[in-house]
């Protein structure tokens, strides 16, 4: 092995590479000996037989592997749980002053008398902001995957409206009557839960879910065309984005003005944040239903 020529070689190659010459000077280093690829085409029966044995082997080994993996996981998880402190003991690390502070000063700090809402929307608002973003992105990706084009290609729109009209005429009478009675009350309850999140159980997530469920009931009973009257795709996107932006803006202001030591001017803000979360959640739930059932909003 002579070092000199090889180094020289390496330098010339680098220079030529810098100059833009893509062909290596010494081809023997790069091009391996070319060999004819083995052409191996088994017959049809041979192929089938081989597949069958492979499947057979797979199904023989599958339960063994499954049990093994499950047992390993169970052992690891049980071992971890046994290492944890016992439930309900006074010396546990969760029994510190944080929970007490939340319960005692929650009302004056955040202005909401419901401790859970104070926790979710004020103390740990960033957490909820992240959750709202997750919901928003989930709907966005489902829309990217499932949303059909809104353009009228070869009378697609006409066919759609014909199908919907047919659905409306021949819909289930029990479902229709039940929805006719129940929907207003569901909406009323949803709005009640949304607006009372500050003082009573409920809040953005529960209220938004109930609102979305009411929308689903209405749309499955009376067709999506009737939902589209109040909320077409543009409005839907606007409400969704508006909810998230409102949350981000309000929570930013909340942190900015209500920071440590400053007086809290924004006591009633939890209500608005609740509303924003509720809008995002309701839109998410209705959007999932609409996209999964027909691919349109």
């Amino acid at each position: 092995m002579s070092n000199g020529p090889e180094k020289q070689d390496w330098r010339t190659r680098l220079v030529s590479w810098v100059d833009g010459d893509r062909e290596p000077k010494d081809q023997s280093l790069f091009v391996m000996e070319q060999r004819h690829r083995r052409r191996f085409l088994p017959t049809e029966e041979e192929h089938e037989r081989r597949e069958k044995t492979r499947l057979h082997r797979f199904f023989n080994w599958y339960p063994v592997a499954a049990v093994f993996i499950a047992l390993t996981l169970v052992t690891v998880l049980l071992g971890t749980v046994l290492q944890m402190p016992l439930f309900g003991q006074e010396s546990n690390p969760i029994n510190n002053e944080v929970a007490e502070h939340y319960l005692e000063h929650g009302e004056e700090d955040t202005g909401s008398s419901n401790a859970v809402t104070a926790m979710i929307l004020s103390y740990r608002g960033f957490d909820t902001l992240g959750e709202s973003c997750v919901l928003f992105l989930a709907v966005t990706s489902v829309m990217m995957l499932l949303l059909k084009d809104g353009e009228d290609e070869d009378g697609k729109l006409a066919r759609r409206s014909a199908r919907e009209a047919d659905q409306e005429e021949h819909g289930d009478i029990i479902l229709k009557r039940t929805a006719w009675v129940l929907t207003p009350f569901i909406f009323l309850f949803a709005i009640y839960v949304l607006l009372n999140g500050e003082t009573s159980p409920g809040g953005g997530f529960s209220g938004g879910t109930i609102l979305g469920a009411g929308l689903i009931l209405f749309s499955s009973a009376f067709g999506q065309r009737n939902v589209r009257v109040i909320m077409d795709r543009k409005t839907y996107s606007f409400i969704r984005t508006f909810g998230l932006m409102l949350y981000a803006l309000l929570y930013g202001a909340y942190i900015f003005f209500g920071a440590n030591g400053l007086p809290n001017y924004l006591a009633g803000m939890a209500l608005l944040i609740d509303l924003a979360v509720g809008l995002v959640v309701a839109c998410t739930i209705y959007g999932f239903y609409a996209l999964f059932s027909t691919g349109e909003i």
Binding site: V116, V193, T209, I210, G212, Y289, F292, S293
Partner: protein, 83 residues
Amino acid sequence: MIVLEYILLISVVVCAVAAPLCKRPLVMVIVYMAFSLMMAVLWSLLQSPDLAMTEAAVGAGITSILFFLTLKKIHALKGTKDE
């Protein structure tokens, strides 16, 4: 009240075991729905009505609807073959 709690806990476990053992997907979803409903009652007995409301709406309502939609799309329900 404690008796009701015990009954609910036992039924939750029974439902949880029964759900994956069902043969038909439709029955599976309904058993899962029952599981969610009992969990909702349990949450409210454990004094967390927030969770109870969300569980009742999401677990028993929306998840099941999405499951049903999926079953309809893959023609696993009766009467959806000819579409």
